[in-house]
Symmetry: C2
Subunit: 143 residues, 2 copies
DNA sequence: TGTCGATGTAATGTTAATAGATACAACGAA
DNA sequence: TTCGTTGTATCTATTAACATTACATCGACA
């Protein structure tokens, strides 16, 4: 029971783009070497981030940059960009309709779990890229 | 990106055990017909719930019952019983240690996401089996 | 305008997790 | 001893995710 790599990877990508924007051209190969995954994974993820309006990618010439300042990008934005907007939990599709529990559990439990999910998304909204960059800078300074 | 069936199935099982305790012997076959999965899945899940101290299962004679009252069992108990206690998110195992983002992202992002996870668990603690039984009873009465 | 490095994307392979199913030993009551 | 049930082991099928290769396309520049 786990989320996929995608949110951490996408966040890593965005942080690198911002952190190195003045030092390097942030190509998919460059980013792949920091994250340590195949460049194709980077390009796919970058494609999702682009579709969500978070980055611009220069086709041909190469490199990516943020479309907003890091203060205005939250993990919620990233999460929505890279994860399907499905329910958090699987439900058994065909519980027994003749059983009062079976025919009502989806509605009853689903409602509660949806609240939990919304709560999680609200937490994501509180975490900005700027927060993370600052934490990384602090760690860097302490090295 | 989803949780497995296990939490909803385990919850379904517990609700059925309590709802039908005075009417039927809640065997794995009986529960399987309400949830509509293979009885072996029920037995495996019941084994996890038993290991967590939430139910007693009568080997030989058959049937299961709760060890506590429904007010005292929360989704947190159920979640812990059926899901491995791993991190919510996967991280790339080997980010580039030469990159300041790569060598620090696990610590920085991991801390934030762990807070989100703890928050989710706290939400689970607020939802009791008794709440769910009451909601189901309300729906039943309205049918 | 041809070259070159980069992106976009399709196709394929690999791995891991999950669920479904069958089989059977062990259990406990009658 | 019989019978219904639980506890497990094992096998298979399915699915999702990630890795990799390959190649068409793009845009700047000599």
């Amino acid at each position: 029971m786990q989320f996929s790599f995608r949110l951490p990877v996408a966040t890593h990508i965005l942080l690198c783009i911002e952190r190195f924007k003045d030092e390097y051209k942030t190509t998919s190969t460059f980013l792949a070497s920091s994250v340590n995954v195949n460049p194709v994974i980077i390009r796919k993820t970058l494609g999702q981030l682009k579709a969500a309006g978070l980055v611009e990618v220069a086709a041909g010439v190469g490199g990516a940059k943020l479309t907003k300042s890091p203060e205005d990008i939250t993990l919620w934005d990233v999460f929505r960009a890279v994860e399907e907007d499905e329910d958090l939990f699987h439900f058994q599709e065909n519980p027994n309709p003749k059983c009062p529990v079976g025919r009502n559990i989806h509605g009853v439990l689903g409602d509660r779990l949806e609240e939990v999910r919304q709560h999680m998304l609200a937490d994501f909204k509180k975490i900005t890229l700027a927060d993370l960059l600052e934490s990384i800078a602090t760690k860097e300074a302490a090295e």
